[in-house]
Amino acid sequence: MSALKRSMTEPGITFRTIIGLEVHVQLRTKTKLFCGCLLEFAALPNSLTCPVCLGLPGALPVMNREAVRLAIRLGKALNCTIADFAKWDRKSYYYPDLPKNYQISQYDKPLCQEGWLDVPGEDGVGRVGIQRAHLEEDAGKNIHDTPGCTLVDLNRTGTPLLEIVTRPDLTSADQAYAFCTELQKLATYLSVSEGSMQKGQMRFEPNVNLAIVRDGIEYRTPISEIKNLNSFKAVRAAIEYETRRQLQDWMADNSYLFGERPHENRGWNDGRQVTELQRSKEQAHDYRYFPDPDLVSVEVGRNAALQGELNRPIDELPVARCLRFQAEYGLSANDAETILAERATADLFERAVEAGAPPKVAAKQFVNVWSKLANEYRRSIAELGIEAKRIGALAKMVEQNTVSASAAKTVAAAMLDSTDGPDFLAEQLGLIQVVDEEELAKWVDAAIAANEKAVQTILTNPKKAKASEGFLRGQVMKISSGKADPGRAGELIAKRVAGLKDQED
């Protein structure tokens, strides 16, 4: 690290990081890519298999159209050109978790080609080119738990994956991190993938090298491919480490250059937070790609379901919708992003607005009230099952000061167990805001009497005056069981304290 810092400040040397990403996204289909076996996580080993995915003699693959449909949907959202045909190729290599010893993939005609994804960053939105996205089947799993013995679980074999390959347009670990999270958001938002990291539904392989400029001459370090990362954090940390390592290696030996040293496959050691060189194969792999004679090419335009997906207008994507939420509803970027984290929740929000909810108040309630309730029940807000109309009505009550923001939390909780409207429930709970000046004065006086210290602070310490006023307002809400209008309570507190000050003077 220290060597690196020195080098980075060494005069005459600058460098930039060049990053390309390969991302495997598991598609959200019920069944596997070429057979009818169900896709379930953590099932009994080899229980989700059949002659086809076991690669038994005589068994034949049959294409899952739903997987192609989902791939088209994501491809379109990535601004890709969609191929006329879904064409399949065999990629040959021997490995025990690959029962046919070839993988069915797409080689020269990927389903999706030449698109891009816009990724928000600190310097604004950056556009990352997508070279291709193709469908392929996943392999099984080798399990090395027992010493001297390797077990093979073929439940995962045949899982539909979309492999997305970017152009080497990414320039930093942070941007790569942002790309991966943005892609996950997009894939889950479009229901193309569950996008679960725990279930290994997204896997990342960054290709990294550096362009170093010294004395006006550019040097490129060899590309290293970091294999099989399964978290966003690992993507960032591995690229950061790789950037440092490559710079150091080049500093130590200026012949550490692209073209002179081989392409490196490296693994990420999460415990040590370093990348490690993987045993390089003696020779370049020859995958002997050729068209799979067991699968006919499917003309996308000729198949009703696929054509429907092709012609469907692209849904409004999260980035665009987030900007619209800010512009149209006046939400903060943070609130908009929180609501957009899940598509059904964002849809519910918009339906509540349509039903008459004031957008800003409703957004605050989504972020502060509904999300907390949802967390308690380990669900999303949409999954709480409250109708847009009732959600909108509660927001309206807060806007009109019929209930206070804090009382609204209690009303919201009550709405979960009832089909009644929030107005009825607030009434029942006695939470309808009181406008009676006399009662409010009683509560304010009680709060002031009980909290002399806070009053003193307001009088003597201007820096903390505001906080103490807030504290007193909170006390009024407490004493009134949330029935007081916090705005008017604040006004009255200020008035009373000012009166005390006058007395002292």
Binding site: P57, G58, V62, Y102, F290, P293, V296
Partner: protein, 482 residues
């Protein structure tokens, strides 16, 4: 010897029972298979149990299938869950599939009884059934001669009267050539006519399952049972199945039969040529018109075939690595060695030769020159046929240049063996249908056949021509001296 049609008719008429039929077949197997080696396995217990079920159903007046009670044999590269499926390879010597091939399901649904599994060249790679890991099958007409291959066992089972019908698979002639060598009708249906689900793949884009029978009428019955759409094979056509047996009576008046010049040139044995000439005369007498045609890319067919078939085979056979099933080497230190040794120990020399040829053809740097070029040539060959079928209804040619050769005669010369496929492989490359029909014997008493090729899904045309011919010839009625 009774035909399949006669067998099912006499069972249905109550003149005999399924049980008696099966017993008669078992007796013939008992008597002759000791020296002919047609079968890899026979399950008499299962067969008799099924026969009893059919007899009971008939007695009770319940409906039975069109093949009820008939014994059939299937090539041992068709998966069966009741018997090992060895592909005549040491690799799969003890392999028992957990499911039945589509065609096996079809036959048994039609009431046929699968009596046993028949010998073949290992993984269907060969033209003589000498490349079997289980043993050589002998030609019943002359037991020191080959029966042809790769479906030699199925051909011999029918020719020797052990069963009235059998299934084989045809990748480059593996049904038609042994049918011709054994004096039978052998049909290779159009690619996509019959589901390949459960047929252990040799070359996926060429493989097709079809029947061996004595008569074209029997072939029609068998094809009706096994043809048709199956969602488990993406290359299987979603096209209705005609009632082939009902369309056999069609007159040959005005039917145009093409004679391709390229199929009657150098290398064709004179006795074969003479028999085929006689057969064409019979067809002309029945009203057919002969048309001289040309299939100009014929000379490229063998090279094209041996590139595509071996390339696909090299990939299809990659799965036999001793890890998940099949032979596993006991002499391996690591995982790569385990695959290599298992394959090295269990696969035969012809299979290895073809895997190596195919691997080479697909290797980077060679793909364009070999596999890709061969695929382009294949398109040209298919176009030759498409153009020819604009002028003719069927194409008539020899099946093989010679009659059956002696066992051991060509085993040291793989190229000579490959050249024996010269007249049959084009139909596979073009994906069309073709049938081999008995039309004579050579002076040594070995059968001769001719081939009728039809456009895609025109099985009814070639079967009708073959049937009309058989109404006016008796070569298919002769019986080998057993």
């Amino acid at each position: 010897m009774t035909t399949l049609t006669e067998t099912v008719e006499s069972i249905r008429a109550g003149q005999t029972t399924a049980t008696q039929t099966i017993q008669a077949c078992l007796e013939r197997i008992e008597k002759n298979d000791g020296h002919l080696h047609a079968f890899v396995s026979v399950d008499s217990k299962r067969a008799l149990a099924r026969a009893e079920l059919i007899d009971n159903a008939l007695k009770a007046g319940k409906p039975v299938g069109p093949l009820a009670g008939a014994a059939v044999a299937v090539k041992d590269n068709l998966c069966t869950d009741f018997a090992a499926t060895t592909c005549a390879s040491r690799m799969l010597a003890e392999y028992r599939p957990p499911y039945n091939a589509h065609v096996v399901e079809c036959l048994e649904r039609a009431g046929a009884i699968v009596l046993g599994k028949t010998n073949l060249d290992e993984f269907a790679m060969g033209s003589s059934t000498e490349n079997s890991g289980i043993g050589v099958t002998c030609n019943p007409w002359q037991p020191d001669h080959v029966p042809g291959g790769s479906s030699g066992g199925s051909a011999v089972a029918v020719a020797a009267g052990m069963v009235p019908a059998a299934l084989g698979s045809d990748t480059g002639g593996s049904i038609r050539q042994p049918a011709s060598f054994c004096g039978l009708v052998g049909l290779k249906p159009t690619y996509g006519r019959v589901s390949r689900y459960g047929l252990v793949a040799f070359a996926s884009s060429l493989d097709q399952v079809g029947p061996f029978t004595r008569t074209a009428a029997d072939a029609a019955l068998m094809l009706e049972a096994i043809a048709g759409y199956d969602g488990r094979d993406s290359t299987c056509a979603d096209q209705g199945v005609p009632r082939y047996a009902e369309k056999l009576g069609r007159s040959l008046e005005g039917v145009r039969i093409g004679l391709p010049a390229e199929y009657f040139g150098e290398g064709l044995h004179e006795t074969v040529r003479a028999s085929i000439d006689e057969a064409t005369k019979v067809l002309v007498d029945l009203g057919a018109k002969l048309v001289e045609i040309s299939l100009p890319h014929t000379s490229y067919a063998i090279a094209c075939y041996y590139l595509i078939a071996t390339a696909e085979a090299s990939s299809n056979l990659a799965r036999y690595d001793g890890i998940h099933y099949g032979h596993r080497s006991k002499n391996a230190q690591d995982i790569m060695e385990l695959s290599a040794s298992s394959r090295g120990e269990a696969l035969g020399p012809e299979v290895k030769r073809r895997i190596m040829l195919g691997t080479y053809a697909l290797s980077s740097g060679y793909y364009d020159a070999y596999y890709k070029k061969a695929s382009q040539v294949r398109t040209l060959i298919a176009q030759d046929f498409a153009q020819a079928f604009e002028k003719v209804d069927a194409i008539l040619s020899p099946v093989t240049p010679t009659t059956a050769f002696a066992i051991g005669e060509k085993t040291d010369d793989p190229l000579a063996m490959y050249l024996a496929d010269i007249y049959t492989i084009s139909a596979n490359l073009a994906g069309i249908c073709a049938v081999s029909v008995p039309c004579g014997f050579d002076p040594a008493g070995l059968p001769i056949g001719y081939q009728l090729m039809g456009a895609a899904f025109q099985e009814e045309t070639v079967l009708a021509i073959a049937h009309q011919y058989q109404q006016h010839s008796d070569f298919h009625r002769r019986v080998p001296p057993l």
